[in-house]
Every structure is written in C-alpha cells, then in structure tokens.
C-alpha cells in the first residue's frame, strides 16, 4: 500500500470487460511505463491489438502481447495485483492459488461475491478443497467502494460486484439503511441491460437478429445477482422482486426501482438522504429529483462510457411512493471501472484516479 505504482496482470483480456480493463490500466496515471502483464489461454503469445484492433497505435500495434498463463510468468514479472476477468468457474479455482502465491486479486466474476451458501448455489461451484474455499471466502471483500471502502483498502481478495447488483444496491442502500422503506410492501427492481452484459460468446440470444428491435425479460425470479442484493441490502427474498431485461443497445444499465416509504417524505428529504450517504463517494452522481419534469432523471446515455453510477428519483403526490432510477455502464462501474476503483483503494491511491 501507499506505493507510487505497482505491477498488475490481467487474465481474460479477450472479453468486453477485459478490453475496458486493458484500456483503463494502459492509461492509468500510476501505471505509466508499467503496462499490465496480459495472460490468456492460448498456447502461443498473441498480440493484444489482434484481439482488439481499436487499441493499436499509429504503427498498427501497441507491441503488447497476451502471453500463455502460468504462475511462474506472473512471478518472474513481479506481478503484485492480478485482475481476473475470467469465467466464474475458473476464478473459483484460480483464486486460492493466486493467494497462495502471495498475489492480491480483484476478481470480476461471481465466484467469491456471495457469503451464504444458498445464494452461491445457483453457480454450481465444485470446490476441490472445500475447507480452503471457505477460508478464502471468509477473506473476500465485496468490492463496492461506496459500502466497503475501508475493508477494500486492506483486502487481499476483492470480489468485484455484478453489474445489475451495483445499480440496484446503490439505488436502494441509503433508503433501506435509513429505515424508510416499507419492506412489507415489497421492493420492485425492473432492470434493463445492454447486450455486452451477456458476454462475448455468440449465442442465440446475443445474435443481432434476436437482440435488435427487441426487448425481452429473462431469468425472472432467478437471476444470479439476486444473492448480492439480498446480502448487501440485508433483505429477505420475498421483500425484493428483480427482473432483468435485454436491451437492444451495446452497453449501459438502467434500473427502475419502486419503493414505498413507511411514512410520508418530502422530495427534499430523499434528496438529502442520498446526497449524505454518498457525500464521500466520488463515483456516484445524484440527479436532483425535485422538479416536476423528468428532465433530471438519469438516462443511459449520460452514464455510458463513464465510471459513474447516476441516481435520480421521483416521488408520487402521496409522499409514500418513490421511484428511483439508477444508471451505469455495465462494463465500467459495473465491471472494469469498479475493478480499477478497487485497485486504487487497495494501493492507497485516490479512489477516482484514472477514471475521469
């Protein structure tokens, strides 16, 4: 901690979050002259710009390679912090090894986010060494800086949150924590995400012909990010209903969250509640919900390609019903950007460094 710079590595740069992570780390002011070590599954080194031509400089290549993964390579190169942008199962098996090699880890998968066994069940992990897995799990910190800033600073393993979960937890936490929300009435979270959230593998539902000009709900009452919401918000499963939808856009999430307050509240009170909660959080923008128009509600276009989570709200005339709209870029605040935030905290740097 407190170092001027560190040596990082990235496993899984070929995916969408991996590309964003590469971009952020290559331009990070603390990492100038210390490009990440990129590692992947190919047996031979591949040029990073072959995977992602947009990263090329004017010579048509950045010269950077994605090298075959091995723990030896990481040690030779003096890697201190490893980003895993790998599939859940792979992260589940690699993290204990990484920790054993003395590496700090930011894992972008869902492998280590969930404390309760029943919430993790949906992933179907088969831990080779269950006792070790439990130990590692116990060390893991849920990497949402707005909630766990202090723990992240010292963490060896940071489990970077899910994109939907980030948008819903940040929208609800201040109001739930204040005890304002009537949980018996139930909370409804209607979320919509761009296609990059579904990953790079070509499937029937990532085909342009399926996603374009369409909208579909999916994983109704059964999405993997539900567990994160329950654990981080301290809710029962019956108190929150979450429905994700697939939007015909490349990136961005908008969550429309419906709560009922126990008692009447003024819009100004809600505004103050949100602003106070996030007073020390550089990556949350509160949109004023005071006006009658919806002009100042967040929209996907305002948050996309930024690392901000934008939050706005609107109150019904009855003073009880409140709609919170939260937006973020699923590849940035919902993945790679938040991972960099976590690195910043782990290294004692400014939380927003390299994210403006």
């Amino acid at each position: 901690m407190g170092k001027d710079s560190i040596q990082t590595a990235v496993a899984g740069a070929s995916g969408y979050a991996g590309l964003e992570l590469a971009r952020l780390l290559l331009h990070h002011p603390r990492l100038q002259g210390r490009a990440p070590v990129f590692v992947g599954r190919d047996a031979e080194p591949v040029r990073l710009t072959e995977m992602h031509p947009q990263l090329a400089d004017n010579n048509g290549s950045s010269g950077l390679l994605v090298e075959p993964f091995s723990w030896e390579l990481l040690q030779e190169r003096g890697v201190e912090l490893l980003f895993l942008a790998t599939p859940h199962e792979q992260s589940r098996s690699w993290v204990p090894e990484a920790l054993a090699h003395g590496l700090r880890v930011v894992d972008l998968s869902g492998a280590w986010r969930l404390r309760a066994h029943e919430n993790r069940a949906i992933y179907g992990f088969h831990d080779a060494d269950a006792a070790l897995a439990s130990q590692v799990q116990a060390k893991s910190v849920y990497g949402l800086p707005e909630l766990h800033r202090e723990c992240i600073r010292k963490a060896q393993l940071v489990a970077n949150p899910g994109c939907y979960a980030t948008s819903v937890i940040l929208a609800l936490k201040p109001l739930v924590a204040a005890g304002w929300v009537d949980l018996d009435r139930g909370i409804v979270c209607d979320s919509k995400s761009g296609v990059s959230g579904a990953g790079k593998a070509p499937t029937a539902s990532t085909h342009f012909m399926y996603a374009a000009d369409n909208l579909s709900a999916y994983a109704v009452f059964g999405h993997r990010h539900m567990g994160e919401m329950l654990e981080q918000l301290g809710l029962e499963e019956t108190q929150i209903t979450f429905t994700p939808h697939l939007l015909p856009i490349p990136r961005g999430i908008l969550s429309t969250t419906y709560v009922t307050f126990r008692q009447k509240k003024e819009a100004a009170e809600v505004d103050a509640c949100l602003r106070e909660f996030y007073a020390a959080s550089p990556m949350v923008r509160i949109f004023s919900g005071r006006g009658k128009t919806s002009t100042h509600l967040p929209q996907i276009q305002y948050s996309v390609r930024t690392n901000y989570c934008d939050i706005g709200f609107q109150m019904a005339k009855d003073g009880r019903r409140c709609i919170v709209v939260s937006c973020l870029d699923n590849l940035l605040k919902g993945a790679a950007g938040q991972a960099v935030e976590n690195m910043n905290l782990m290294c004692g740097w400014d939380e927003a460094e390299g994210l403006a």
Copy 2:
C-alpha cells in the same frame, strides 16, 4: 351493421398510425374495391404514395390521393365510418361535428377515452360547447374489444385506447376482476415503448442521437394513459404505479407488471384465469408461464407487426408474487389494428377480419 362492405374515410394518414391504418384498410377483405377516402390538412390533393413511398405499386403510385378535408367531401363520397388519426385537440373538436353529420367514428386520439373530468384534465381540452361535449362523451365507448365488445358493436363513437393502456389493462384485467390482487400492496407497471409512440414530429427526444443506444424513463407519475388504466381497471391512483420508458426501437411495447396475490396461487390457476377471460378474444395470445425458464414469456419481436397482445407470466416460489409480461405493437393492437377491430365489430363482421 351487418352490411357486406362500407365506405370509410381516414383523416391523418400522414402519421405512423395513419400509415398502418391505410395499409390495413387497403388490404381488408371487406373493403376490396372501396378504398378509404383519405383527407388531410393540405389545401391541395397530395398523392398518398408521396407521403408513404412504401405503399406504391409497381407503377410507382397507387393512384390514391389525400384530399383537402371537408364534411361535404365526405358526404359526396358516401362515407359512413370515419377514422380520426388526428391530434387530440382536433379530434375533440371534430367528433361532435362528425356525429352531427351522421357519421360513425373511430377516434385514435385521447380525446374521448376518459369519463372522469379529473382524468381528462391532463389534456387541457377547451370544449367550445361544454354541454354538447358532455353528451358526446356519454355516448363514447372505450374501444377495447376484450372488455366492451357488445357496446362497441352498437357504438356511434368509439374511443380507441392508448397503446400503453392496452398493454397494461389487458395484462391486469383478468386478475383484478377475479379479485385476486392485493391492491393494498400496490401494482407496479414498468412499460417500455418504441419511438413511433412519440409521433412523427421531429423533436429533441425523437432525434436518432437521443433515442439510439439509450433508455430513459419519462412522464413519471404523470403519463396521460394513467386515467384509462384507472377507469378500466377500477383502481385508485395510489394502487397502481406506472412508468413509461423510451426504447431505442421503432415499434413495440413490453409492459412488466408486478402484482401480489391476496392468497397463494398455483401457476396453473393463473394460466386458467387468463385463458378463460380471453377465451372469446381472438387478438390475445396467452403464453404459458408454467415452465421454469423464461422461454415462453412474450417478447417484443413476437408481437410486433401483428395485431396480437401477447400475455405471459411467471410466479415466485412464494405463490404470492406474480410478474405479468405483455407485449403488443403500439401501431397495431395499440392503435390502427385495434381501430380496425373496432370497425369490424361496428359492422357486424368477424373481429379479426383483415388482421391475420
């Protein structure tokens, strides 16, 4: 009624609903050889295919004209049924005249849909003759065939429902009518519509650069279609929360509606409830919600360019929470197609004629 054919007219063929209406009427089996009289605001006749090149035949024109509107013209041509695809204010002032001229009217605007004065207030109508307006209003039938089939058959004035309202009312009516829904818990309707719903006038929010790659909530707690939902479902304003969103697609609406049942229900009961309610309704398709996957939930792609309203649902394991997903094409079942359904009923024809 009961005639083989009738003479129709269309005012407002230049808009998106107008184009669909023209297309449907020109291909309607009952109207072969009796093209609608198209009337508009231009002082000179304009070729219909100049407005809508897609309607041209292989000679580059259908020969049809949009003629300057006058009541005399309509009478000369023997018009019996007038479709108004005109702005709300214009429909509000024309309908009394049309009825006075002995015409039957299907009005696609919001002018005559709302019974309660307070629900209508949002339109800000200034009736020239308030007493006459009240009389006309009293005669108006809300043109949702699934609810008012019999009244529509005899109606002189049919107020064609709003697109959002159609999707929400059809999703909820069977469950609310059965008395199953816990209204104290509140109903949430999260709706998403394509851009054609915003009309043809170029505005800041219909600009491609605003709508594309974006999603935005608008008219939160203040959309004009709320009144239709309240009146048709028999609800109080505090019992239902409706939020529309602007989708980056040309056409289609998906509404995700969240209800809590008073008592536990099985999915099979919900399925049966919906199927029974719509047993006699040819334009509603029930998607089975029984499976665990969301495969059989409606999606915009399945209903668009059809006149169907597709309805599916999914139940939580608690047996109390139910998510209903309804989809339709806002220009067809949400506008022009439903107008033709209404014409079919008014003329004693099969409800689905010309709509397959």
Copy 3:
C-alpha cells in the same frame, strides 16, 4: 401447369428465409387449406410455433409440425413442389434425388445457380455423381423472373438467385443490355446488407456487439454472388467490382451502382430504358430519378417487408456518369418472396399472387 392449387413442402423452415417462406405460403390465396409440409433435421416432430412464436394464432399454436425429413413422407403427402431453404451443400446433394422422385424444386441456396465451373468453385462442392450433377445443372433455370420468366414456367429446378445478385443484376441489366455502359471504364457496385443475410448461426460477426453501431466491408473481391452477376450480365470479372458491407439493421439491401455511359444520355432516356425493360415485371418499382433532389431515390425502409426491388438513379451533369440505387428485402425479393414468385410462374399463376 395451370392447376388451381398444389401441395408444397418446405425443408429448412428454421432459418430466416424459411420463416418468411412459411409465412408467405400459409397466407398464399392458392394454398388455402393446403398448408405446406414442413420437414427438418430433428428426429422428432417439432411445433412450427416453437421455432417461431410469432406464427402462433390466439391458441398459442398453429398446430403445424416440422416433421423429420424423408422422401417417403413427401410422397405420402402428395408433395409436388419442394422448397429447399437448406445449406448449399445439402441442396447440392438433395436436388438430384428430389428430381428423381418427380418433384419440382425451388432451391434457395447457391447450389445450382452457376453454370460455369470456375464460378462454382468458391462453394467447393463435391458431387457424388459428377455426370448426374452436370445433367441436373443443365436443367436448372436461374430464377430471376425479370430475366427468365418463360423458362421458369416450365422448369423442373429453379435456382433462386442470391440476394445481392438480385439487387445488382436488376439495377444493371437494362443499361448493359441496351449497350449503353462503357465496360472499359468498369462498373462499381457498392452493396450494403442487413444482418439476416448472414444467416441464423451465431458467429463472431453476427453477435450484436460486432454488428451494432458498426459498418464493415467483407469478402472484398471474393464474394460468392459475383459469379451470378458475371453470368447473368454477360460480363468479364475485370469489368465489375463488387463490395458487400454488413449493415447494423435486421434486413434490407441497398446497392449503389456506378456506371459510365459510352455516350451522353438524358435522365429521361435512362428512365425510359428502365421502365420499358420492366414494363411486364410486377415486382420492380422504378423511382423517378429526374429531379435534382434525392427524394425519389429508393431507401431500404421503403422496400423492406415488401417483395419489390426498387430502382432509382441520378445522372451527373456530364451526362455520362450515372448512379443507380437499388433496394430490396433480402429475405423477400432476395429469397423467400422470389421463391414464391417462381412457384407462381411454375404453376401458371399470376407472378405477384400472394406477394402484395
């Protein structure tokens, strides 16, 4: 033939062209009460509406099945005309068998379109019986009604043209046939197609994230449809340069074709040339190119979801350079619609029947 109706079958209804073909045949006025026999590769029958939920009626199913393919099944059902919407290689091997079983065939693949061996080489066909293949090839008629109407009427095997080829050949044929085009200057065809042209298989380049917000040229100097253009236009390979591009839209092709005339021409002459050539062709619409504005040039939006090929042009002031713009729906005039046109001709029916 001149029969009132026939029994058809469709192999390959699961793809995009197959869906359109199913739709067209199910609504074709000559085939009422005689649904096509749908056959596919699954070992068990599958409901057609499971593949394509949009085809369901209000009972949620049309009742139609896609049955396991066998020649016996086709014979039992009395099939007379078989549509093959199958991969090239499969069509190449099935067609000789189909003809041997006495079936007439409209093949939508590229298997039998090309006369010259060197043009066919790009498909890499391995004919089991080369002599038989040659015999079949010799019988095949290129199914572009505007050029080969008379041959199609009597054909046993119609090779339905490629989508790009249709748009380019129809744009050029009248001008090339008139001898007006300076072939030494070279013709340039710059074509752009929606993603459905790439087929239903999920691949890296049909992924939403690849196609959306993007445009890319592909198969430069090496697209399979080149052979069709050369053979049908009677050109040498060096006389025409064709570049396809992948558009971020579901369907539609626009080809911008650049020619230089040997001698000065007036726009009116070009207009007359096109109109005369297509005087007897119901599925070509000539857009007048006479004005100075581009208002009357075809656009994808006007031809999509129709079976028309729209053609317009603009002349340079020098009277020599002419730009021809042609548009069509790659799934209709570029595939399934043209297949139905061919069926109409083969059966002695009106060319445009069921295609309005």
Copy 4:
C-alpha cells in the same frame, strides 16, 4: 508559439462536435487549470452540464458556464485561440471580426475551407465586405495536418476539414500524389456516415423512425464536401464520384474508395506507399491489406471514439483495381479531434497531445 499553455474559447458547445471539443479541451494536459471560455447565443449564462449532463462531476455539475457571446468577454478573459463550432453562415461573418480582434481561430464549419469561388457557391454565402472576405480567405489554411502541417503551425485561421472530406482525401492522397491512379477511369468514393453528421437540429431525416433500420443515399452528385476533395486532391469534377449515405448509427464514417492504377501494382507497393506518406502522421493507422481475408480492413467500430483515421486496402488479382477503405469518427478526426490537432500544431505542441 511554443507556450506552455493558452487560453481558449469555444463558441457552439451545444452541438455534437461542440460537446466532443469541450470534453477534449477539459482533459487536455496543456490546458489543466485553464478551462475554455464557453460562449453561446443565450442571453443568460447556462450551466454547461445542463446542456450535457454527461459532463457533470459527482457534485452534479462542473461549475462551468456557457456565457453570452461578446468580443469584450473574450478579451477580458484573455482568450488567444477561438474554436468556432458554429453554423457556416455565422462562422463566415464572425471570423473576420475575430481576426481583427487579434484572435487565432480554428473554424469547424465549412465557411473558409474552399479556395475556388465556384466550389464555395453551394454554401450561398453573402459576404458583407467582399474584399475583406477575400483577404481572410487567402490567409486561411486547410486544417488537414497530414497535408498542411507546416502552414497550420503558423496559421491565424485554420479551416477545419469536413468529415467526409477527411476520410476520402486521406484515403486517396498518397496514391494520387504518387501518380498511380488512372484518372481517366474515374475514382468512385462510396461513403457512409452516422447520424451525428447531420447535426443536432431535429428534422424529418434525423428522426429515429427515419434513420433507424434504414440506409439512404443523399446529396448525390451534389454534396458540399466535394469541393474540398477536388481542391485538396487536385482533381476535376468528372474524375471523382462521391456518394454519401446515412447510416443508422450515432457516429463514424466508412468510405469505400475504388481506384484503378495505370500500371500493375503489388499489394506490398501500395502498403509501402501509404506507410511512407503517413510516416510522420501520428493520427493515421495503416491496416495491412496484404492478406486474402478482409480481417484487417478498418471497420467503424475500431476507429469510433478515437482520433485516428484508419486506412486499409485490398487489390484485385488483376493488380490494377484497388479498393481503399477508410474509417474515422466524424466527431473526432472528422471535427473536434482534428480541431485539437490543429491547436496543438498552432501552439508548437505535439500533434497528438491530449488525443490518445
């Protein structure tokens, strides 16, 4: 100049290029602590973040204002360099005044790009003082760094190039300058641009319903950027045919340019020609065209949101025909990014500074 920093101003920050310019200048390393003075046409100051919520920091505002334009204000603030992202006509009338006030100017409009009166005619400028206008015109430098780097360094007025013109000129200049292109055969440039190129004003053709799922050619044989191509490439009007198309994407241009060489060339020669020409140009990336596949041709997705112009090519087997594909972001290399490049040169800074 060689100063460490300067004071800039931006007129016209409300448009799309203006937003990108604001973003670039606010993050430019040389301008830290010296935000541009933003000026506009409103009579009262407006918050920049009200126009562009995406520019807000986590307090919901950057604090920056767009102030009412006046020459006095610019002088008070010590402005040295003025960016005009204003309409053509306004730039035409303001630039002489700006120069008279001793300001250096980068004008993003088409007002001062064209040397020949006949090429300028299409804009229909009415110069208040024709003699002054001629003097100013004579001083103007065409701001394409790859062609006029040295002149730009010393220029008082830089006319920032058109977006289409940049993509076409950069694709062609090396080959034309080498004398390789057979001009008698004619050059064809088929260009496609995203909707932001059409500006922020809502019009019939920027409406989402017009642009989405569509492609259209426009301004055929009559686009305003033609003059720039003729002047910068030294061509006659009959030697080059340029057709722009409106793509259904927010941003990006792809130009497909067809040339015929006088004599056979190897791909390696073409590659070398391009690489040598742009050896000193940091903002051009040459994609190798040597392979048989089109993998290495530029695509819009690779250049968008960068300041690069990407250039690739493919040769026909005849060694004479060559297709050059060039891509850029119309708001960056086609507008605001190139304007910053010009500022960098004018100030003696590194051409690519602040543009990585």
